[in-house]
């Protein structure tokens, strides 16, 4: 593939945190890319590094304890310039220009992500004024326009309300409106519907699909919910303890999973209309301070072989764009460097 097609290109990213009990490798040598206009889903359980990946892209990893210890993140801007995000200082003008007007992010809990002492309108207008250098009046107009875009009724009245006056679903809509106010080309959504009720979740997912179609932006959709992933993503990255264990199209992940962890996850979720016994993955996600030897999944793996307990597996390329990090594919797969 031509490098230019990749809007975001994460190459061997390592994000480490110093803790009192040693270095935690929250993200450890992961690679994936997002093409223009497509949605990539990142799925995994708590502690797998999916949110830290997002913070690394936004260049918001908190120093001095947290740092990008290796690899790089390349981003192609509107003007076609390839920028190495990981090489930019977090508060440099260039990084600030990218954050917000090129790449935007929405979070799980809109109540904590929004500022309680400013009105919704002020917060959206602030973003617009900051990035697009327009007047306050223009910013306010843009805020109304955005609320209308995300389906909030009576937007000219709503912009004067504070976050606590809105319901959970409305707040999430307002946050999406804020994130999109500067026409970003890439949106990172970190569990945006996890805190919402199922009927409201459906509204928000629908809204996001609709906006993506309308605005043509690319998305990185982070979630632990396989149902949400299958609704939203075209390609899926499965993470476990800081590693990418499998990457494939959404159809391959659900119909032809190759990594024992992915298979285990799929067998763990109850499917509507089928009451047969679930097949859980045994054990629990290991503590990031006490990771097992070899493949981090080996103590829980049904198919583990001797080598799995000894050596970390490499990634293998299988047919199509299917990549799996597991020794089981030593014969059939092509080992990636």
């Amino acid at each position: 593939m031509v490098e230019r097609d990749k809007l975001l290109d994460v190459q061997g990213l390592k994000t480490y945190f110093e803790t009192d009990r040693g270095v935690v490798k929250a993200v450890d040598d992961i690679s994936y890319h997002v093409k223009e206009g497509e949605t990539v889903g990142i799925v995994g359980e708590s502690g797998c590094g999916k949110s830290v990946t997002a913070l690394s892209i936004m260049n918001l990893v908190q120093g001095p304890r947290g740092r990008v210890a290796g690899g790089k993140i390349m981003y192609t801007t509107k003007g076609g310039e390839r920028v190495e995000i990981t090489a930019l200082p977090p508060y440099s003008p260039k990084m600030r220009a990218i954050r917000g007007s090129e790449i935007s992010m929405i979070f799980q809990e809109p109540m904590t992500a929004l500022n309680p002492v400013y009105t919704i309108g002020e917060q959206i207008a602030e973003t617009v004024c900051l990035h697009q250098k327009v007047s306050k009046k223009k910013g306010r107009e843009r805020a109304i326009e955005m609320l209308e875009l995300v389906g909030i009724a009576a937007p000219s009245r709503r912009i004067n309300e504070y976050p606590h006056q809105l319901s959970g679903g409305m707040r999430q809509r307002a946050m999406i409106g804020m994130a999109l106010s500067c026409d970003p080309r890439f949106l990172i959504a970190d569990e945006p519907t996890t805190a919402l009720d199922v009927t409201i979740e459906a509204q928000i997912l629908d809204l996001m699909l609709h906006l993506q179609e309308k605005l043509g932006m690319a998305m990185q959709f982070i979630t632990h919910d396989l149902g949400v992933i299958s609704t939203m993503a075209k390609r899926v990255v499965v993470m476990y303890t800081g590693h990418v264990v499998e990457k494939a199209s959404v159809d391959d992940i659900f119909y032809d999973p190759r990594h024992p962890y992915t298979k285990g996850l799929l067998a763990s979720v109850p499917t509507l209309g089928r009451q047969e016994r679930l097949v859980p993955i045994k054990g629990t996600v290991p503590n990031m301070n006490e990771l097992p030897k070899g493949c981090y999944f080996s103590p829980r793996c049904q198919e583990a072989m001797d080598i799995c307990h000894q050596e970390e597996p490499p990634s293998y390329q299988l047919e199509g764009d299917h990549i799996v990090k597991c020794w089981l594919w030593e014969q059939e797969g092509v080992r990636l460097p």
Binding site: E45, S46, S167, G169, M170, D197, V198, T199, I200, E201, A202, Q203, L205, D206, H224, D225, L226, G227, V228, I229, S230, T231, V250, D251, F254, Y255, G264, L265, L266, A267, S268, V269, P270, T271, L272, G273, Q275, R277, L278, V279, P280, I281, K282, T284, V285
Partner: protein, 347 residues
């Protein structure tokens, strides 16, 4: 209904939280968290309760165990062949009754005392009810721990040394300590990771078989509820809108709200279909619900009568065990989930 198998019968249960205002704390209104619900549970079955936040499912569960005192209603519970109204019991009598009716909580992080060892946590119910000597209690705790898949070597550890799933196992062991016949499970797996959630669901169903337990299983996740329940009750703003067997609810819903819930669930299958328009608007404020049917403000099938008269929960003619509160239940043709999984993963 006369049924010897009924272990719990709830009749017109209500829980209102007064809204107080001003200097003299005058009551200016009520949040009707649970607004007249009636249902029954048969021995050995699992009844699921689903609904969105604020629908009153947790409050209902707590009122049944009397962790919270309901405003009015009856909770008949079978004890030694007799139906007893739990709400009419004195504090002392209720304490005795709690040996048979226990609860498992959602958050395994806040429902275990961080300063107590696992042994103390699990033995606490035995202590309170003065059952057995220290020696016997310790034996019982070890036995319970093995039932829920924990090792006796973990006896002296504290809650923070355990993962979420293991803590939920401790909570389950505690609930089992007094040999209850009925357990209210309030969102027991919602806080757990997907892979661990399945372990706990399987454990609950094994224990049910082993000890002949009856569950009231409260959850917001429809896939989980469908998986564990024999019958399901759907709640909306403090009331039951539909109650029937799992299969019937998911394949043949009769209430528009149930249909909307089923169509809204994100199904873990990229080939599944979703061409249903999601419900608009929000759940109404339970302190100021709309007149008539409480769902009429969001219902796509609303008619004039729905705005005026609240529908009664009634058993549908010719459909055994299918209760629904909708004026138009007979005429509407609603979609179950089979419309979405025309192509299934196994095919």
């Amino acid at each position: 209904m006369k049924d010897d198998n009924v272990i719990l019968r709830v009749d017109d249960l209500r829980k209102y939280f007064p809204i107080k205002k001003g200097l003299f704390k005058r009551v200016v209104g009520n949040v009707k968290a649970v607004d007249g619900i009636s249902f029954f549970v048969r021995k050995g079955e699992t009844v699921g309760v689903v609904g969105e936040s604020g629908c009153g499912k947790t409050t209902a569960g707590r009122c049944i165990v009397r962790v919270m005192e309901p405003t009015s209603g009856q909770v008949q519970f079978r004890r030694g062949g007799q139906m007893v109204d739990l709400l009419a019991l004195s504090k002392h009598e209720m304490k005795k009754a709690r040996q048979e009716i226990q609860m498992i909580f959602q958050d395994p992080f806040s429902s275990l005392d961080p300063r107590m060892t696992v042994k103390k946590i699990i033995a606490e119910p035995l202590d309170i009810h003065k059952i057995g000597t220290r020696q016997e209690q310790e034996e019982r705790v070890k036995e319970l721990m093995s039932h829920v898949g924990l090792g006796a070597y973990q006896l002296e550890r504290y809650p923070h040394e355990f993962s979420g799933g293991q803590r939920q196992r401790i909570g389950i062991a505690r609930a089992l300590a007094l040999n209850p016949s009925f357990i209210v499970c309030d969102e027991p797996v919602s806080a757990l990771d997907v892979s661990v959630q399945a372990q706990v669901i399987n454990l609950l169903s094994d224990l049910q078989e082993q000890f002949d337990l009856t569950y009231l299983f409260i959850a917001h996740d429809l896939s989980v509820v469908e998986h564990v329940s024999d019958r399901i009750m759907v709640m909306y703003v403090g009331q039951v809108v539909e109650m029937t067997t799992s299969k019937s609810l998911y394949t043949n819903p009769k209430h528009p709200y149930t249909e909307a819930l089923l169509q809204a669930i994100p199904i873990a299958d990229p080939r599944s279909r979703r061409d249903f328009r999601p419900l608009e608007g929000n759940v109404p404020d339970p302190s100021n619900p709309p007149p008539g049917c409480k769902f009429h403000t969001r219902c796509p099938y609303v008619q004039d009568i729905c705005k005026r008269e609240p529908p009664e929960l009634r058993e549908l003619k010719g459909m055994h065990d299918h209760f629904v509160a909708c004026h138009r239940a007979e005429e509407l043709e609603l979609q179950g989930i089979q419309s979405r999984t025309a192509v299934s993963r196994s095919s």
